[in-house]
Amino acid sequence: MRIGNAASPFEAYEKLKKANDKLNCIVTAIEPHEEGIPIALKDNVCTRSILTTASCRILDNYIPVYDATIIGRLKAKGFVPVAKTSMDELAMGGTNMTALTGPCHNPYDLERISGGSSGGSAVAVASGLVPVAIGTDTGDSIRKPASYCGVVGVKPSYGKISRYGIIPYASSLDHVGCFTTNVRDAAYMLEVLSGRDDKDMTSSFEEVPSYSRIINSDISGRKLLIFKNVLDEIEDHDVLRAFNDTVTVLRMKGAVIEEVSFDETLMKAVLPVYYLIANGEATANHANLTGIPFGERAQGKDFEEVMINSRSRGFSSSIKQRFVIGSYALYKENQGHYYRKAQKIRRLVVEEVMNRLRDADALIAPTVPGIAPLMKESSTDELDDNLISHSHLIIANFAGLPSLSLPMGFSHGLPLGFSITANPFMEDIMFDIAKAVEEYTGLEGQTKEDF
């Protein structure tokens, strides 16, 4: 399904409700009242008068009294929200297994994960229910589910899309982005969503080009860097074959391609750096979830006990774990060893990559090292996956780089993703390269519509 030939919001709404029995990809279906282009929104996007839970029990009754900035932008271009989608609790996860409404299913194999944390949005697009859905990405939360579900998932440069009205995870890493079935639609969505917003203090003043008009698959002379540390780790032959075949075609189209290996020690530090920064920021951001001004309130004999009981009941054990560790890293006596140290290593990682990327057009790699894992074999503990073939995606969040995943083929009938990361605010070049890949794969517009 494409934006240009999408079903009506009324039809999409009915189909979503029906498909949800099998996919469990939505939290709330929104009955449309007008014609337009149906769109699904991750459930951390505040929607006036519509339940917004961020998949967290403490927000299970939260009905925002205002819209996120992106809602106004979407409505101005004729988009009609038809669903709030499933996500990992407070966007803190990579499997979508920690959703308050239960795991979301991969449309290519219901026994497998969708990936997360924007899993519901990825699934809604992958199964042809909507042509576009909004996600957020703090470490890989758009690109990983995009790869597992066989759709295009884009995280633009930091500050490009306003985060006003988005329930946060980690403010120095959070990005808003989207899922589509093809590259041109993704380029168009970036035009719709991007632009300065005074209500978001990190919003960029950079001009927003007409990406969908200037998109061009001519990549002759473009310099692409293969992320060798990622490739070195991958054992899956189907992934390697699909990636290498795509690279061969890009080379035939005139791209200049070379391999680059980054410092292994710094690459090994990416995940723990992310873990400390993201959880530290998250615990501070969510100090306002007390159950008092909003959210589910528990009983207590005094003010403090109300907050303790509300928070202890309102967060899952794994979120409490993240908050406790994040808070530990922020303690004055620990900051130097943990939080500040992590921020300094973040600088070294960014410099290591930018020293090479600055003189090139993009960094490319398989998005993830394989197909979507089976639910029963998936761990929800991020520290269990300390492989650069997973954590390389985080570097784009550290550095604020535009990054996307698009389908590059299949293994055992399940989708594989190709990752492209460009220089800051060079989304146009990222889309050109993606378009060239898409022309080769022929997977433009692909969906899995059995629901």
């Binding site: 009294v65 020690t265 090994k268 004999k301 403090e304 202890s312 774990q321 908050f323 560790i325």
Partner: protein, 94 residues
């Protein structure tokens, strides 16, 4: 790290933990501790922390023009308990 120490850490951010939760966090600290050994191999002496991705200025002073804030009803709409125009909580002074 001891269970009681973890429970105290949690209490500082207004969370009560069960014994099982505290044990799981202790195990996670251990796992993280092993992973953090890599930090010792990286010299960060004299480096500035990278807090946000870009150094460019995005903050500004807005013009002093009135804007419509949320109404009182809207602000209170999500509070569990309201008395007149205030969010109410259990009595502090008995």
């Amino acid at each position: 790290m001891e269970k009681e120490e973890i429970k105290k850490l949690a209490h500082d951010i207004l969370l009560d933990l069960s014994d099982k939760e505290a044990e799981d966090i202790a195990a996670e600290f251990e796992k993280l501790g092993k992973m953090l050994r890599v930090f010792e191999e990286i010299d960060t002496e004299g480096l500035r922390a990278l807090v946000y991705p870009f150094d460019n200025e995005t903050e500004y002073l807005r013009e002093d023009v009135p804007e419509r804030p949320l109404s009182k009803d809207e602000v209170l709409a999500n509070a569990g308990k309201i008395t007149e125009n205030c969010v109410s909580v259990p009595r502090v002074l008995k």
